[in-house]
């Protein structure tokens, strides 16, 4: 696969471990015209799993940086959303009960 004149190897490497997304799939999206982390996240689900992009965010940003020739710090990040780590509905519901005095 050649994108922007660059020969792309290691296409089967898993980039997003939560959603099993390969480097090849990410690059295919870039080839299809998706230009940002936000778009790639929504097309592929990379970054939507339990770790919320902690692993894949930087790896995809690297690909965008290299292919579009922009510095890493200029690659647009996705919004970091709560909660910081997965938390059960039961724990949250109990917290509501305590807050409202209905525990």
């Amino acid at each position: 696969m050649v994108i922007n004149g660059q020969d792309i190897k290691n296409q089967n490497t898993i980039v997003c471990r939560c959603e099993d997304i390969t480097r090849g799939y990410i690059l295919k999206c870039i080839e299809d015209g998706y230009k940002t982390l936000d778009e790639i996240k929504r097309v592929t689900r990379a970054g939507m799993g339990p770790c919320q992009g902690r692993t894949c965010r930087q790896l995809i940003a690297q690909e965008l940086s290299r292919i579009y020739g922009v510095p890493m710090e200029d690659v647009l990040m996705t919004t970091f959303r709560p909660p910081v780590k997965p938390i059960s509905l039961g724990a949250l519901a109990d917290a509501y009960g305590e807050r409202e005095g209905k525990a």
């Binding site: 939507m48 799993g49 509501y96």
Partner: protein
């Protein structure tokens, strides 16, 4: 991006992209879609993406039902090589008050008159459809197996890519900074990437529609309202249908991917452009939903976010041409159900703009209805 287009559409959500596609299908292909972020970055990409035909008014049931038929073949319809993720697991609408239960029976009459295959079930019937549901406090439920859920990103990308294939231009990360009227007609859209002249400008900017219309001094009763939503980690499939309550203001759905998506409405939410998440919402949603679906207590939330409903006074869309800026047409005010009616609404708008007949009367959606009192009343909204 050229300097001049026949039609400029403001807003790259499903409404704007679907209208672009339908216009192009009808031969109006000199069209530009402007989006200030990426496609779906506004309300479309933040919505629950439910598709429900169980409405209480003929108009909404018709729009939703005819839109569902398009969602069923959207890939073929637009020539998209991905999947739009339609999952028709049905909607189970549960009634928690006697009045609501009576309304559901009236709604069923409307739905049956349009050939929508929905039916009422008692509490045992509800448990057959969702075995782990807690029916305490419930009067009954209605179910339509053809209701469901689709992927809002892929549906929008399908319309956008289909439109582009027919010659439509799309400019993302482009912000409208002004509008110019000449001799009572819309003439120009000013953006941070340059000015564009246009014969027609469609305002499909959702919660921002009133702000956009204000640029030509048109007052529209469309206001933004934050709605919050959350999603869990993927788990084994235990629930096919969307479970929804108007009385308790919640909806819950397990996606084909296994994650469970849910949201609640807050009747006290103020008018604002706020799209931040709150921890209060997270706890309240968990409390409300685990009462009806206790099995979800062990489910872990991985992400929460918020988006804007584009509310109108009667909670139905406004399709309106500005009186002092002919050619400036707003298509907004969908009040939380824009995604599911977008396919049919886009056809209605495109038919109107290309002089083709349509069995729905577009004038009914005009903002004039708030003066004449001919409101589009809908008894069943969250």
């Amino acid at each position: 991006m050229k300097k001049s287009y026949d039609v400029v559409i403001i807003g790259g959500g499903i409404v704007g992209c679907a209208i672009a596609f339908e216009l192009a299908q009808r031969g109006r292909r000199d069209v530009l879609v402007i989006e200030k972020g990426y496609l779906t970055s506004g309300a479309t990409g933040r919505c629950g993406a439910g598709i429900r035909q169980q409405w209480g008014s003929v108009l909404n049931a018709t729009l939703a039902s005819e839109s569902t038929h398009i969602f069923e073949n959207l890939e073929e319809y637009t020539g998209y090589n991905g999947s739009c993720g339609l999952n028709q697991g049905g909607y189970l609408l549960v009634a928690y008050t006697e009045k609501e239960w009576q309304q559901f029976h009236k709604n069923l009459e409307v739905q049956h008159s349009l050939g929508i295959d929905a039916y009422a079930v008692d509490l045992d019937g509800a448990k057959e459809i969702v075995p782990h549901i807690n029916t305490e406090g419930m009067y009954g439920a209605t179910f339509c197996a053809k209701d469901g859920h689709a992927d809002p990103f892929h549906c929008t990308f399908a319309y956008a890519k289909g439109a582009q294939k027919l010659g439509v231009d799309i400019e993302t990360y482009t912000t409208v900074t002004g509008l110019k009227v000449e001799n009572g007609r819309i003439h120009m859209v000013k953006t941070d990437k340059g000015d564009i002249t246009a014969k027609l400008v469609l305002n499909c900017s959702g919660g921002h529609a009133a702000k956009m219309a204000a640029l030509i001094n048109e007052e529209l009763p469309i206001f933004p309202e934050r709605h919050q939503i959350l999603i869990s980690e993927p788990v084994a499939h235990i629930m096919n249908p969307m479970v929804m309550s108007f009385h308790r203001h919640f909806y819950v759905q397990q996606t084909p991917h296994g994650s469970v998506i849910m949201g609640i409405g807050d009747p006290t939410e103020p008018v604002s452009f706020n799209t931040r998440s709150s921890w209060q919402y997270l706890e309240e949603n968990a409390h409300i939903v685990t009462q009806t679906l206790p099995a979800f207590r062990n489910l872990r939330v991985v992400r929460q976010w918020a988006g804007l409903y584009d509310m109108s006074p009667d909670r139905n869309p406004i399709i309106n041409e500005a009186k002092d800026a002919l050619g400036f047409i707003t298509v907004a005010g969908f009040s939380g159900h824009g995604f599911m009616v977008a396919p049919r609404t886009a056809i209605l708008v495109a038919n109107h703009l290309t002089g083709q007949e349509d069995n729905l009367d577009i004038k009914r959606f005009s903002a004039d209805r708030y003066r004449t009192g001919e409101l589009l009343l809908e008894p069943s909204v969250v």
